[in-house]
């Protein structure tokens, strides 16, 4: 008997040592996982900086500045157009930005009278960047980690009142409660009561399965005691708050009060009212049984019970309790998964990070990630999508429509904003990255660019045939492309064929220079997937995501320089030590002269071609260049275009790839224009590259002509490709005489 007991004790001791190792390693792993912090780009302030007063104020609030006298660090004062800002100072990867007090006014959407009132003088300063999210995925769980010190005191107090009144006194288990529970279980003949302490519940959540067996109960008790031996009560409580199971969203489980607060109320934990805290604490008993979205009544009953317990425990006064019991649940209609305001953008950041970092490092090493997101641009982009979409194509169609908008800085390739769908807070399918759709006429600039690089054969003036034809393949199939409007115009000059997006000339030119040449151009500009070599590719049967379209249009916007899109500038470790920099890169992939000619026709698109309706809402001084794209039956409506500062790509269509009545001009362009209308910026005015000259020409006669002729058009030509002959305005003397007099009186 003694020997038997001794063996039993040794086994138990061994088992306890094993459990101890499990407990400490797992608990430490969970507790010290620090999520990565993601920052927006810092706002740079200097004389002449482009920003509106409203955008500056929004930016300040997003970065956590308080409105006030502007004298304490982290506060600002606004007096009409005048701002006084006291910055907190920030440690950037490339150096410290000291705290300063600055003063400036905003006039015509520009910073003026910029001066540093206090602190080190500088002609340019950076505000501390806004925190736009964290990267926390762990074990298919999303978490919004909270610290005990940040949690409203009522939450842990209520939790203890309801679940474990003696939490601060017991040693992990409460034998009295267990005894009570056992008695109840024996009476019922099955397990009906838990009697678990918070520590036991945490152990169950962290280490064990959900079965209610005796063995598991035993392990749970031993591990709870071990946990209490190793750690402080507050550590255990904090971990509990972050670990407790609070519901399910598809395959993802919702753990912790921080995420639950987002998920059920769309609010931060710190902003919750007492009735909301009561609901969350009530749900601990059974998150799906008391699911407030599915079982409203049951959840309300449970919440009110918790409120009564709060009252009995003296946590709240009876009047407050009564008032709280009368309130609705206050649960948001749709679940919101994280504090992440910009899920589509953060998604792209994560994919870029995945090239260099392991997922577990991102979620646990406390990295600091400095992104290129511009909150003002993102705000305008989200507004453009959510405000424009409901008005497109009638209410019924609008309901089924989705949209994306990608915005980049034209010359740096930094992704400034990304909208992945009509609900910018939705963290699911990211259309901007994953919706591969046919690009339609967005391919045409690349056809004409390929042609114009052969300046001995093609100029902007070259007549191209707008006339139908049939292509017969070897296998007997036939292909007969058509214009969108079904018309045929005979000969049209190349620039007009592009600006008006005629199909037949595009296919003819594409076939003339070769589908493979066009395909090579697309690849050089950044398409990284195989491109179909069928002639239908010339009408955009090739599929791309909006972000890829933005990438290839970057080269058109920057005169032939491929500029890889970036979302991250720098990554540092938790102590601020730089880990990676993602530098600006440029690579010339096309002759700037030929790109300049395409840019001309893309500007013409906006002024007289398929994009002209943009100027119904934009001022004419804002010179723009762009291209519409439409696929069969309006399944995809695209617009890609740029100003002097920004490149934006808009897509509108249905997720089921169904038909719409929209074209690029009536679907995506309104979204695009609405976005552009909200952002102060420079017009597009490209520098004429070496080797390009502008000439006044008569395109019909294929000849140089005089500036004053009605038919005259100022066109750029690659040197040597300009026409040799000259015609006067219908050959009249009038102009020559005037020329004489002009000469005489100068």
């Amino acid at each position: 008997m003694f020997r038997f007991c001794a063996i039993g004790l040794v086994l138990l001791a061994g088992w306890t040592v094993y459990l101890d190792a499990v407990v400490t390693s797992r608990f430490e792993g969970r507790r010290f996982e620090v999520p990565s912090r993601v920052y927006a780009r810092p706002l740079e302030l200097f004389e002449g900086a482009s920003i509106s007063a409203g955008a500056l104020e929004r930016e300040l609030q997003l970065s956590g500045f308080h409105k006030g006298a502007g004298d304490k660090p982290g506060s600002y004062q606004r007096n009409g157009r005048r701002f006084v800002i006291s910055t907190r100072g920030f440690s950037f990867p490339d150096g410290d930005e000291p705290a300063r007090r600055i003063s400036l006014t905003i006039s015509a959407d520009r910073v003026q009278s910029f001066s540093v009132i206090r602190g080190e003088a500088a002609p340019i300063i950076r505000l501390e960047p806004a925190r736009i999210g964290g990267i926390y995925p762990a074990h298919k769980e999303d978490r919004v980690l909270v610290e005990l010190s940040q949690v409203p005191a009522l939450l842990p107090a209520t939790l203890m009142a309801v679940e474990d009144r003696n939490f601060y006194d017991h040693f992990g288990i409460a034998p009295l409660s267990i005894g009570r529970a056992m008695l109840a279980n024996i009476r019922a003949g099955r397990v009906v009561q838990g009697g678990s302490t918070l520590t036991q519940q945490l152990v169950k959540n962290l280490f064990l399965t959900r079965d209610q067996t005796l063995l598991r109960k035993g392990n749970e008790a031993i591990m709870s005691v071990l946990l209490e031996l190793h750690y402080e009560k507050d550590d255990i409580l904090e971990t509990y708050l972050n670990e407790v199971y609070m519901g399910q969203a598809g395959t993802r489980s919702i753990h912790g009060f921080g995420l639950a607060s987002q998920f059920y109320f769309g609010q931060s934990l710190g902003d919750l009212d007492l009735h909301q805290i009561a609901l969350l604490v009530g749900m601990v008993k059974g998150a799906s049984y008391y699911n407030p979205r599915r079982n409203r009544e049951r959840a309300t009953e449970r919440r009110n019970l918790v409120i009564s317990e709060m009252e009995q425990a003296g946590l709240i006064e009876p009047e407050r309790a009564a008032r709280a019991r009368g309130l609705p649940l206050g649960v948001s209609e749709r679940p919101s998964y994280s504090e992440n305001r910009y899920p589509a953008y953060i998604d792209l950041v994560r994919r870029h990070l995945a090239r260099d970092y392991k997922e577990e490092d991102l979620r646990s090493e406390g990295l600091r990630i400095f992104t290129t997101l511009d909150p003002a641009i993102q705000y305008a982009a989200e507004f453009a999508v959510t405000d424009t979409l409901p008005r497109l194509g009638g209410a019924k169609l609008a309901e089924s429509l989705e949209a994306t908008l990608v915005v980049t800085a034209k010359d740096s390739g930094e992704v400034l904003a990304l909208v992945g769908g009509k609900d910018p807070r939705f963290a699911g399918f990211n259309r901007a990255l994953d919706a591969n759709r046919q690009i339609g006429s967005l391919v045409k600039p690349f056809i004409y660019l390929s042609a114009l690089q052969r300046s001995e054969r093609y100029t902007l003036m070259t007549p191209v045939l707008d006339k139908s034809f049939t292509l017969e393949f070897d296998d007997g199939r036939r292909w007969q492309p058509k214009n969108y409007d079904g018309e045929e115009r005979g000969e049209v000059p190349l620039h007009k064929a592009l600006s008006h997006s005629y199909n037949l000339p595009a296919v003819r030119v594409g076939l003339d220079i070769g589908v493979d040449v066009v395909s090579d151009t697309l690849t050089a500009f950044g398409v990284d997937t195989p491109i179909s070599q069928y002639p239908s590719m010339l009408l955009g049967s090739v599929s791309m995501s909006p972000i890829t379209v933005a990438q290839i249009y970057q080269g058109l916007a920057t005169s032939g320089f491929n500029t890889p899109l970036r979302t991250i500038r720098e990554v540092t470790d938790a102590s601020g030590e730089a880990l990676s920099r993602y530098s600006l890169e440029v690579e010339q992939v096309a002759d700037p002269a030929a790109v300049h000619l395409v840019q001309y026709a893309m500007q013409e698109t906006m002024q007289e071609g398929t994009g002209r309706s943009t100027y119904n809402i934009l001022p004419r001084q804002l010179t723009l260049a762009g291209k519409t794209g439409t696929t069969d039956d309006g399944r995809d409506s695209w617009f890609a275009g740029f100003s002097g500062d920004l490149l934006a790509v808009a897509w509108v269509g249905r997720d089921d790839n169904g038909a719409t009545a929209l074209t690029g001009a009536s679907g995506a362009l309104p979204v695009w224009s609405r976005f552009m209308a909200q952002v102060p910026q420079h017009g597009f005015s490209p520098v004429v590259p070496d080797g390009v000259n502008y000439h006044w020409v008569n395109t019909e006669r294929q000849a140089l002509t005089d500036k004053y002729c009605d038919t005259a058009r100022l066109l750029p030509f690659i040197a040597g490709s300009e026409p040799a002959q000259t015609v006067s305005c219908s050959g009249t003397l009038e102009r020559r005489i005037r020329g004489w007099f002009e000469g005489l009186f100068q």
């Binding site: 909150p375 959510t386 909200q678 102060p680 597009f684 005015s685 750029p716």
Partner: protein
Amino acid sequence: MKIKTTFRTGLIMTLLALAGCASGPGGGIYVPVGGEPAKAPEPPRTSAGEDEAPVWRKSEQPAAAPSEQEPPRSSSPSYRETGDGLSPAALSLVREADGLLKQGDAAGAIARLERAQRIAPRSAEVYFKLSEAYVASNRLGPAEQFTLKGLSLAGSDTRLQRAGWLLLADIRRARGNVAGADQAEARAAAQ
């Protein structure tokens, strides 16, 4: 060979930096959005779409002066003969970068120059400076590309054209591309 390259690059750059002070901003017309909303909209929150919308109004302010260049005709595509100069803010960053380069901190210089590039993205000088910083860190591939980018913005400014082509010639020679270097030198001489 490398010493000679760096020397000439430095010389060109000193000339450029000095000239940079003198040139003012030009080119692309700045178009403000116009009237501010009466009340500043709330910052974006998790409850989407309920924020007060910014109001688009036709500009109440006169458009920024279109500099000394001919304003574009409303119905014809816009272009210009030269890129932007460096604003005082960009110039201060370029000078910081110069200081860092002198101390041998090419990475620090590149970080400053990228900030300058973001606020003066159409200035040829910024790209030539980036090229210099990449030459200093012995990464001639990016240096060549930044020179080409700068040249695409030099337009009719013969000073910038000449400096850019000479810089390109040096880089190409250092990379062993003698024919390309000769070609670039010929372009410089033709300016």
